[in-house]
Symmetry: C2
Subunit: 380 residues, 2 copies
């Protein structure tokens, strides 16, 4: 860590980066496509939080559950006008971020579900318990509190790809971190209480169940066909055409034929790689453009801001090679029709099996038909 | 099937049962603790629905996804005053149920996600696709549209255990059905649009992913210890005491030490069995009483009707023995504090790993402290 800004262009597109430590010891990194300038004192909005996350083993689901009792003190509805993700303008009323010229910011969550300093928890008879080792970060997408990701300029989405790539490299370089998951949860409908555009990153000390399962499946495909699954999948979707939403030279978006959500959208590179950092500059630009396109279509579909979950599905960061891994962004839009949310009910939660009321082929056609020039709702 | 009511007492508690076919070919079964009398003409609320459910294989999650495009025509907000789950009083305005003296009713869902008559779907290149074979039923808990399960008399909960047991036996006897999942999704907060107290049953032609995973884990425990997991778990929870909510001679409720939801509650028999139908009459009565207790505590906790998902986790019904299977009811309450819903965000959906902000030991103490005599909100 350093408290002196440093500029590190990481790809063909310039990216500036400055690392700081907050007064309470948390890491803060500023990112920008142009020079970072005029950064004020590094603030923190409250007393240090002593995080004591722990993991307990669920013996039937065969997965860890994270416990973070210290999170119960976190803000729910902040006082009117207070936005912890905006740059600090009044030192008497500090936010998480300093004033200054920068595009994006990443800092350690004040109430993390995982911590590299997690203490060993007390034992529980019959249940494996261990420290919740990992890191949780907040990614602020812009200084504009009224924007949405879809409404940002294309260059900002391109920068976000580089920021996610850099965070994955930085976090993955830690000997304890084996998996890095960037995501955005968007919409009051799904409990988002801070409306300033932002996402999160969870860095785990193990490969989580969804990724473990995918690895098993993808290895099996590669052993049987000799090719990474993504290569076959892209070829089949291009040939079928039915489910492709947008295609560029190095990336495309589809409603996958096995979509679990009505308007589920996957953004895929055409070359099978494991990490965002494996994509070259041209590939990143196309990947960013297709993601931008996908986000705008979701907002344009019903003329309302689509609530969604976006996850960046990369390979593990445990130092091994994962030639079978299909890098992609999965977008789960929560509306299945105007005003009609998809809820996870008995079959989804109790059996792990999704029920989808619509065919992917039809929903891809609807997303293709969105006229991007007329998308207004996302302009904030 | 028969259109003549028959009475079949199935356990030490009397249960009367009458089977019918609806005019559109769907099955209807009435259940009652006392004699079924005065049943009117069997109604159906609309034209027959041609269900064409299909399954597609998700290659990364390694699970089937159900598609039921015919469900898009189903009612969302019924016209004011129309309740399809109430007994029909005006033949010109038919509901799903006839008038008459009976306690509960089960009928095939008019818009099912699975059907025993599902046709073979068209192929999709590169993706395994097959007919969505199974059955989806609706279970109406009472004729009173304003009741809740928690507010019903204890005898009615006891009857529900028998009804679930009987449906599992009936559906499981079909050669195509390998797993039967009864559940209740409760609350407008989670998309329930019909407020008449009811649950559902999904009967699958395969063992779903959550149960498949549990079987693997439970077999491993049995091989290593020689005992079913449930036996060890009940002994450990009784000894620890911390997480027990209510205990009777043959059943108990706990917040499991690996709870994923804040007030997650499991209702467990003390004897390790696979199916509700394996419980004897005394065990069923205690199991029902502990379930009733658990439901009332959840409503009493914050003085509001707790939105929740309840699933009945039984062994597969494929004719094999499952001595390792832990029969239980899992209750997932969706409120983590008054007015604060738990949403499944990035880590839960994108990684399959739950984050819980509270320790099970503390939440069990809160549930124990609910004074049942003062629970008013559930009285409807």
């Amino acid at each position: 860590m350093t408290d002196t800004p440093t500029a590190e262009p990481l790809s063909a597109e310039p990216m500036f980066k400055a690392e700081y430590l907050k007064p309470d010891g948390r890491e803060l990194t500023l990112y920008s496509a142009s020079a970072i300038e005029g950064v004020g004192p590094i603030p923190t909005p409250g007393d240090p939080v002593h995080a004591t996350p722990q993991l307990r083993w669920h013996p039937l689901r065969g997965e860890w559950v994270m416990y973070a009792a210290h999170r119960q003190g976190r803000p729910f509805l902040p006082p009117p006008g207070y936005n912890p993700l905006a740059p600090t303008t009044d030192p008497a009323n500090p936010t998480e971020l300093p004033e200054g010229r920068y595009d994006m910011a990443v800092f350690q969550n004040r109430f993390p579900s995982l911590s590299l300093n997690a203490p060993t928890p007390p034992e529980v008879a019959g249940v494996p318990v261990r420290a919740g080792v990992g890191q949780c970060e907040v990614v602020v997408f812009t200084q504009n509190p009224d924007a949405t990701l879809a409404s940002l300029p294309a260059e900002q989405i391109r920068l976000l790809i580089d920021v996610w790539a850099d965070r994955t490299t930085v976090l993955g370089a830690n000997e304890h971190i084996r998996y890095v998951l960037p995501f955005e949860n968007r919409g009051v409908e799904v409990g988002v209480t801070l409306h300033h555009p932002h996402g999160q990153i969870y860095a785990y000390d193990h490969i989580p169940p969804v990724q473990e399962r995918a690895l098993t499946q993808m290895r099996s495909h590669m052993q049987q066909s000799g090719r990474p699954w993504l290569q076959d999948f892209v070829a089949e979707e291009q040939q079928a055409g039915l489910r492709v939403i947008t295609e560029r030279a190095h990336a495309l978006s589809v409603v996958p034929p096995f979509a679990r959500y009505t308007y589920e959208t996957w953004v895929l590179p055409k070359r099978a790689v494991g990490l965002l950092s494996d994509l070259n500059s041209d590939e990143r630009s196309d990947f960013a453009a297709v993601l931008h396109d996908a986000l705008r279509r979701l907002d344009g579909l019903f003329g309302v801001r689509m609530p969604y979950l976006m996850t960046v599905q990369q390979a593990p960061t445990d130092g091994q090679d994962y030639p079978e891994w299909p890098l992609r962004i999965e977008l789960y839009p929560y509306l299945r029709a105007p005003g009609r949310m998809k809820y996870l009910a008995g079959t989804e939660q109790g059996a792990g099996e999704f029920a989808n009321d619509a065919m992917p082929e039809q929903k891809a056609a609807e997303l293709r038909a969105v006229v991007l020039e007329e998308v207004k709702c996302a302009e904030g």
